[in-house]
């Protein structure tokens, strides 16, 4: 690792000030950033650890919405987001227990890894990502692999999910990393169905609009029968070809619909 200082502010305001310095970078749970630093793929001068900021930790729910602080770790979401069972279940299947004790929802959404789990939940739920400056709709937030609407130094302070009538996240695990080879999050609301796919596209997480249309009329796995997904633009690597991933998108969507509760 290159050398850098670590600061641990205790408020969002102080963190924002610290992030204003040249080459400062936020440190969430470090489960992605520390490996990146070890590979010398990042060279911040200051890491601003968010782990001492209590105001961005915790889970609360009211009026059909569940709100999770940006600094909340995956284990806490798994334990406390029972009001949105599919979301708690997703958190409980990220990595392993030690990763879940450190990694945070804010870090996952800021990173927007094309195979990460939370982006699928946020997009399928039409979540609102709140930062120290503004609210961003999930539909505007994800802008391609590792790219988001966040500005330099902007901090994800909370994420708010409207709780659906029924939902499920189905993850086909890449057997070595246990990230999703393809993961599909289906959420059924009173007036719409949303389907978000992670792990598959070179553009990162995306909504499968044909499936949403088919499921809006008939929320059953059969409704997807006639649809197909093209392998063009799908990630192709040693774990699976683009065509294989495209096939999995439909399989995992069907499983998610069947499992949605």
């Amino acid at each position: 690792m290159y050398s850098f200082d670590v600061e641990r502010p205790t408020s969002v305001a102080d963190a924002a000030t610290a992030l204003g310095k040249e080459d400062a970078q936020a440190l969430g749970g470090g489960q992605t950033l520390i490996p990146t630093l070890k590979q010398r793929l990042a060279s911040p001068s200051v890491l601003v650890s968010l782990s001492g900021i209590d105001e961005i930790k915790g889970v609360s729910s009211d009026g059909g919405k569940i709100t999770i602080g940006g600094g909340t770790n995956h284990a806490t979401v798994a334990a406390e987001a029972g009001a949105y069972a599919a979301l708690a279940d997703l958190a409980n299947n990220i990595g392993d227990p030690a990763v879940r004790n450190r990694g945070t929802i804010g870090g996952s959404l800021a990173n927007n890894d094309p195979s990460a789990c939370y982006p699928a939940a946020a997009l399928a739920s039409g979540a609102t990502i709140t930062t120290n400056n503004r609210d961003i709709a999930a539909d505007d937030y994800f802008q391609g692999m590792f790219t988001t609407a966040l500005e330099e130094g902007e901090i994800v302070t909370s994420v708010s999910f409207p709780v659906p009538e029924a939902a499920s996240y189905q993850k086909f695990e890449q057997p070595a990393s246990r990230f999703s080879l393809v993961g599909v999050f289906v959420a059924k609301y009173a007036d719409s169905v949303r389907v978000a796919v992670t792990g598959a596209s070179e553009e990162g997480v995306f909504r499968w609009s044909e499936a949403e249309a088919a499921l809006s009329g008939n929320f059953s796995a059969d409704a997807l029968e006639g649809l197909s997904v093209s392998g063009d633009g799908m990630i192709s690597d040693l774990h699976g070809s683009g065509d294989y991933r495209a096939h999995l998108v439909k399989v995992m969507t069907k499983r998610a619909v069947a499992a949605a509760s």
């Binding site: 520390i34 227990p97 030690a98």
Partner: protein, 161 residues
């Protein structure tokens, strides 16, 4: 350099650390607590698992500066006060839960974290919990068996010796 103070295995320590000092380096090189092992240094293997404020974490993927004010427990804290092996350690010895022993500190610390929340885990729950702990030697069966035995459960029906 930043000054950090934390309680490690019941003793308060204060040291000056660089920003990029990992918890593994801090424990092994500053405090000479070499029971915590570094297998991969890439957050995959779990040989470095320690408890920070009671929670299992991979100490190769945390900075010492982040543990300021924390309570840290390592494998060295698992022995009994008289220096004999603690319950989980003894069960690993009794049930051949280790061969080369490299993964064992992490296995024992993960097991301890599991048993704290779930005092009588099923075999499936143990296997699931150990997802982030890799062992190159044992094939896992005897590790699972050791943890079941440490939780006071009958292991006579568990496969493989």
């Amino acid at each position: 350099m930043t000054e950090v103070t934390m309680v490690v295995n019941g003793k308060s320590v204060t040291k000056s650390v660089k920003g990029n000092t990992l918890m593994t380096e801090f424990l092994r090189e500053e405090l000479r607590l070499t029971g915590t092992h570094v297998g991969c240094d890439t957050s995959q293997c779990g040989a470095c698992v320690v408890h920070v404020n009671g929670e299992a974490v991979k100490s190769c993927t945390m900075f010492a500066a982040e543990a300021n004010g924390a309570e840290v427990n390592t494998i060295e804290s698992m022995e009994n006060p008289d220096g004999s092996l603690g319950v989980i350690q003894q069960a690993f010895q009794d049930h051949h839960g280790l061969q080369c022993g490299f993964c064992t500190p992490g296995m024992v610390m993960s097991a301890a974290a599991l048993l704290k929340d779930n005092p009588k885990p099923s075999e499936a729950e143990i296997r699931d919990y150990l997802e982030g702990n890799i062992c190159r030697c044992t094939g896992y069966h005897n590790i699972v068996k050791s943890i079941m035995a440490a939780s006071g459960q009958d292991v006579s029906n568990i496969a493989a010796e």
